[in-house]
């Protein structure tokens, strides 16, 4: 370390990562028990448990709880946790050794796609895999949803990534939104809310399954509950939610929508302050986006003679798939790759919207669009009245100019990264002699970087990402990781200033 001393309290980050890795034993034991119950091989999970315990112990040994966990250390810890948990999550797929995901890169893709609640899959033949391995995919997504909730409500709002600090000021929650000293309490409230919603989803799906569709058994009810509130999108069924009765498809929609609603505001809603949610402008924007895109897609489907779903079917497919993509879940009720270009391109536009800040949603998020649009409208006004001082307001509260700048920066960065990834996919497909159109490349870039799930063409909802080259998949793994934790925490790790100044 001659010349440059490291100025990051990495011991704190490493220690925290070790704690999280050790705690992974708990979720891993769920598929382990399931494998015993179904008399399937248990080795994949035992191997993962051993590795995570060993890694956890190693990290804790290097960790030092005395070192203060500041913003820099939090950035490092967040990046490390998401990377290493995905790596551990990939172990059962490799050890099971069946199908496409036996390959380490594919296994890592599947696990990263799961942990980042993306839902893009490289599976080709679902029937090859054991029920416990398929359930593990669902569990990873549920964990990813929980992780991002805690990250979003407690950590990101505190260190202010791309305007995320807005959430704090906007929801006025001295009691549930502080990193310290109440982080444990925040985590607890969010945890119990998330758990409650998941349990409600299990009960709803299971009861509807009893009434309408025998394929929605307890296994499938749990599996889908795990990935709907998490807005994640994996399904043990090759046909996704499209495999089930229409009533069940309708029932999934509200859970996706709630999963993408600010959990802090849901907490207030339940605790006797419903107006905080109902008067929230971001909530209006989010519901408005859902309504607008659903109607346009429904109209496009009605006008297209090739898709004959009937009235209920058209509405259901429009609402379901728009909700699935806007909330960044990534389920499908039908193979929308076969739709007319108009409807498909609307779905592509939906990918960039996202749900509310402080939820399990991914993508750019409604709040950022709302602030950017309001700031733009303000700029039009000040073009006419150059001396007017007009703060941008969200739900009546003025937004700092610095936050607006952060949000503009975040939007620009997202668009640039999306564009570069598109270029990489097209060029790499050319190199590997694969037939990928520009639109399919754009869809695949948006869906992985913005953590949505399915794309178009080969990588459509009923297709697989295994059709891309290994290099492309490698790049996608990195970008899912960067995109999920709001870009900045990963990018700062690659600056010199982060480590030395």
């Amino acid at each position: 370390m001659a010349g440059s001393r490291i100025r990051v309290g990495w011991q704190a980050s490493v220690g925290l990562t070790g704690d999280v890795l050790a705690a992974l034993v708990v979720p891993l034991s769920f598929p382990l028990l399931l494998s015993v119950y179904y008399a399937e091989p248990s080795l994949p999970f035992l191997a993962a448990i051993t590795v995570t315990l060993a890694l956890g112990a190693l990290f804790r040994r290097f960790g030092d709880p005395e070192v203060n966990l500041g913003p820099r250390e939090a950035f490092l810890a967040v990046a490390l946790i998401w990377l290493l948990v995905a790596a551990v999550g990939a172990i059962p797929f490799v050890v099971a050794g069946v199908g496409t995901i036996a390959h380490p890169v594919n296994a890592m893709f599947e696990a990263m796609s799961g942990l980042t609640t993306t839902g893009a899959t490289v599976l080709r033949d679902f029937s090859l895999h054991s029920r416990s391995v398929l359930m593990w995919r669902q569990v990873i997504q549920w964990l990813g949803g929980l992780g991002i909730l805690i990250l979003a409500t407690a950590v990101l709002s505190e260190i202010g990534v791309g305007g995320a600090q807005l959430m704090e000021s906007e929801s006025q929650t001295q009691d549930v939104n502080k990193l310290t000293p109440k982080i444990s309490r925040t985590a607890q409230l969010i945890w119990s809310l998330y758990l409650g919603l998941t349990a409600l989803a299990v009960a709803t799906y299971f009861l509807l399954g009893l009434a309408f569709d025998p394929r929605m058994d307890l296994y499938n009810a749990v599996a889908h509950a795990f990935t709907s509130v998490a807005t994640a999108g994996f399904s043990p069924e090759p046909l996704s939610v499209g495999a089930f009765h229409p009533v069940i498809q309708w029932a999934v929609v509200p859970f996706m929508v709630v999963g993408s609603t600010s959990f802090v505001l849901i907490y207030f809603f339940i605790n006797g302050e419903p107006m905080r949610l109902l008067r929230n402008e971001e909530f209006h924007f989010y519901l408005g986006a859902l309504g607008f895109f659903s109607s346009v897609v429904a109209l496009a489907l009605f006008l297209d003679p090739a898709t004959a779903f009937g009235l209920e079917g058209t509405l259901r497919h429009a609402v379901f798939n728009v909700a699935s993509i806007v909330t960044t879940t990534g389920y499908a009720s039908t193979d929308y790759v076969l739709w007319a270009p108009a409807a498909k391109h609307m779905l592509f536009a939906c990918m960039f919207v996202g749900g509310m800040v402080g939820s399990t949603t991914c993508s750019i998020k409604s709040l950022r669009w709302l602030v950017a649009l309001k700031a733009f409208r303000r700029d039009l006004y000040t073009a006419i009245h150059p001396d007017a001082v007009r703060p941008v307001r969200v739900t009546g509260k003025p937004v700092d100019e610095e936050v607006i700048r952060d949000i503009y920066g975040y939007l620009l960065l997202s668009i640039v990264i999306f564009f570069l990834l598109t270029v990489v996919i097209v060029v790499d497909a050319e190199r590997a002699d694969l037939r990928v159109t520009e639109f399919e490349a754009m869809g695949a870039a948006a869906t992985t970087f913005l953590n949505i799930g399915p794309a178009f063409g080969e990588a459509g909802p009923y297709g697989t990402f295994a059709s891309f080259s290994m290099t492309t998949r490698g790049v996608m793994i990195v970008l899912m990781w960067i995109g999920r934790i709001e870009i900045i925490p990963v990018l700062v790790l690659f600056t010199k200033a982060f480590w030395t100044s």
Binding site: H385, D387, V389, R390
Partner: protein, 445 residues
């Protein structure tokens, strides 16, 4: 009455002058020359010294005083003066403050700082400006319950849309009560089916917003409506408070402030005001923003010279009404002679408010109507008084006097009186009473 006035500036001198003839007045001022001068000017006892010091206060006989008025230019001196006075005796303390922060603290906590009555100069001035802007048709307007309630008297002109309506047709507003109608010099207690005739004078009590709306019904031509353009020049506390009060009355004023940080703060605090950051003496800017087409311009800059300049500019550009805040009382006439429509002096406004308060009564705020035919009283109900615990319908039944309850404030919030409203101790009741029954009613509170 033995009155001690601390601070012999414009406000203190003016109050002392009005009280000197009927009361025993002692004036305290730090400046010995000023004290000496006042002794001959007003024929009052003066003491030179620090009014916050208990030695000086003892010398002024504060312990036996009925009233202590702290009206120096400094807020903290005034608050400490009142606090010190409370340690010596039990006189009624009045403090003049500029900061609305202190006022808010005082309103939220009874007797805070040892102050019994607080007059906030900037807020009072802003209220005055808004009254002048908003209710040009009213003959008389008086605030009650620290500005929460307003009493207004209107003359109903023949062309007024209200003329020929019944009281229940005219009174469309939730928090407004029709308390009295004067016709040919006779008072009528209005009922729902009483007809309003041209030439009547109507007295209403209610929230300032509802009084504003009613004024619009009575005189739609002269009363400014929401579409009228009001421009406030200068983001001083007076300018800010004026904009805030106008926002409450659903106007959308424009405010011009030169300082960037102050402009940003104002814009954040005033969601329905368009704040502009520019020098208001720049004529090019004024015409670019069409200030010449404004209906009303209020100048509230920090210096009289600038206010004068902007007022004259606005007047020359063709603004209908220009209202100027003038800090020095001597310039008020100068402003009005030049052609500025109304010049308001914060010190005069403060002195008037304190004097009015001392003149009338300590516990009651009153307005006298129509050659003393009726009075509007504000009564604070005490524990176990005749009013407490009874509904308004019961009181009307039991008490053989002509009175109408116009408004009630409870914990600094307005309660609209209805027949079944039950009064509670601590309530402030604003009511119109026939002059013959004033002392009888006042003794019941």
């Amino acid at each position: 009455m033995h009155v001690v006035i601390v601070g012999a500036g414009e406000v203190g001198t003016s109050i002392a002058a009005s009280l000197a003839s009927d009361h025993e007045v002692v004036v305290v001022d730090v400046d010995p020359d000023r004290a000496e001068q006042l002794k001959y000017e007003l024929d009052v006892l003066t003491i030179a010294g620090d009014g916050t010091a208990s030695g000086i206060q003892t010398a002024a006989n504060v312990d036996e005083a009925d009233m202590i008025i702290a009206c120096t230019d400094d807020d903290r001196t005034n608050l400490v003066t009142c606090g010190t006075a409370k340690t010596l005796g039990d006189g009624f303390t009045i403090a003049r403050v500029k900061s609305t922060e202190y006022l808010r603290t005082w309103e939220g906590n009874e007797g805070a700082f040892g102050v019994d009555f607080m007059v906030c100069t900037d807020l009072l001035t802003a209220q005055n400006i808004v009254r002048v802007i908003g209710l040009p048709a009213a003959i008389d307007v008086d605030p009650f319950a620290s500005g929460l309630v307003q009493m207004a008297e209107f003359e109903i002109a023949a062309e007024s849309p209200v003329a020929g309506q019944t009281v229940s047709e005219a009174d469309r507003f939730e928090s407004l009560t029709f308390v009295g109608l004067f016709r040919d010099g006779e008072m009528i207690i209005p009922r729902g089916d009483t007809d309003i005739e041209a030439g009547d004078r109507a007295v209403v009590i209610g929230s300032p917003e509802s009084v504003q709306s009613f004024a619009n019904d009575v005189a739609p031509d002269t009363t400014p409506d929401r579409a009228d353009e009001i421009v406030i020049v200068g983001g001083s506390e007076i300018g800010y408070q004026t904009a805030r009060l106008l926002e409450e009355r659903e106007f959308t004023p424009r405010l011009i402030e030169q300082d960037a940080d102050r402009a940003r703060t104002l814009a954040e605090d005033l969601p329905n005001t368009i704040v502009m950051e520019h020098d208001a003496t720049d004529t090019e800017f004024l015409s670019r923003e069409h200030v010449d087409e404004a209906d009303i311009v209020v100048t509230a800059l920090r210096s009289d010279e600038k206010n004068l300049l902007v007022s004259v500019l606005a007047k020359r550009m063709g603004v209908d009404r220009v209202i100027a805040v003038v800090d020095s009382p001597d310039y008020v006439t100068v402003f009005e002679e030049i052609g500025i429509d109304i010049a308001i002096n914060p010190r005069t406004v403060t002195a008037e408010e304190i004097t009015r308060f001392t003149y009338e009564s300590i516990a009651e705020n009153i307005a006298v109507l129509e050659n003393d035919q009726a009075e509007v009283l504000e009564l604070e109900l005490t524990e176990g008084c005749r009013f407490a615990g009874r509904s308004i319908a019961e009181l009307v039944e039991e008490i053989d006097a002509r009175f109408v309850i116009g408004a009630i404030t409870r914990n600094h919030a307005l309660v609209t009186p209805r027949g079944d409203t039950v009064l509670e101790p601590g309530d402030h009741v604003i009511l119109l009473v026939d002059s013959n029954s004033v002392s009888e009613i006042a003794s019941m509170a």
